[in-house]
Amino acid sequence: MAAPALRLHDAQNDEARWIDAARDGDPQAVAWLAERYTHTVYRFALRMMRNEQDAHDAAQETMVKVLRNLQRYDKRWRFQTWVLSIARNTCIDEFRRRKRKSYKEAPDIADDSPGPMELTSRRERASSLHTAMGDIPPMYREVLVLYHFEHLKYREIADLLDLPIGTVMNRIFRARKKLRTAYQVVTGDAAPAGAT
């Protein structure tokens, strides 16, 4: 799908070129950005909104905003961070606008089909984590999603949330504590391995 002039051997390193081309209105570059970032945005929205339809709508809205407003992108930011900041604001707007669904409402992502012990255990852990994430406030869920699922750095999360890095760390620590407690309640277990 890439134009010959833009055929890239290493897409990550040349992302800036794709962004520049998309800013200039190159439809193939716009499509490339959509392909690359829609999944990231959908994943974030699903983990925050916990409802597939809401996540779908929020992801679409976010990507439309991103692709229509590329001129506003400040290159001092990592593009992913900028995109996620727009996704975050869109999710917050959706929460405010709809107010009809609980944050806890969640798609059933657990698969109960029988399988090897390890696979079942893995699914159970994922399912328990998913439920536990729904039991903590969105403010805490957000930093855990950004750190553990989107693999953002502390300073990137601080930039995205417009908070001092110390505040971000404190929030992550508190989030972990709350999640640990919620996880133990969900699993009906003692602390997960290694918990303190």
Binding site: Y42, H56, V64, R68, I165
Partner: protein, 161 residues
């Protein structure tokens, strides 16, 4: 910091969230740039196994095509609208200058207006004591308006940066 990699005990305290803020900040900044310490911090997190167990959610197949369709058929792009508005304003300014004559005559016209206003104030003999509070009120309102506008602009910048 006196260490190349975060010592085990310090890392454990960091993960538990028991370090003082300044020390935690320096550890966090190191972890941001050190893959080895980041991996150690992740594995020291008791929930890391659970996080690692979560699979990527599948992307709805039509989502990307829906995005592209909306981008292609949507309203005007802001990036294009701003230069267009700029050109429009410039054209309007040029038209005004053309009608007035030239920039120097426009400025002298404005000067004449100010002098006329001053003459009227002197003619009606409005006491300075009455004018001053009005000026102050007008200035305060202007400042308040400017402050509100600036805050709104900053809010939008935060949203979109």
């Amino acid at each position: 910091m006196p260490w190349l990699h975060v010592p085990d005990a310090l890392l454990a305290s960091f993960v538990r969230g028991t370090l003082p803020d300044d020390e935690a900040s320096s550890v966090a900044l190191h972890i941001d740039d050190c893959g080895a310490c980041q991996a150690r911090a992740t594995s020291a997190d008791p929930l890391s196994q659970a996080f690692a167990s979560v699979d990527e959610p599948a992307l709805p197949t039509e989502l990307i095509t829906g995005v592209l369709a909306r981008v292609e058929t949507g309203g005007p792009r802001l990036g294009a609208a701003v230069p267009a508005a700029g050109v429009g304003l410039a054209a309007a300014a040029a038209l005004v200058l053309l009608l007035v004559g030239d920039p120097s005559s426009l400025l002298s016209g404005l000067g004449a207006l100010i002098r006329a206003a001053e003459a009227i104030l002197r003619a009606v003999d409005v006491p300075l004591a009455l004018i001053t509070p009005v000026w102050f009120a007008a200035a305060a309102l202007s400042l308040a308006g400017a402050a509100i506008t600036t805050r709104r602009m900053e809010g939008r910048e935060t949203l979109w940066r």
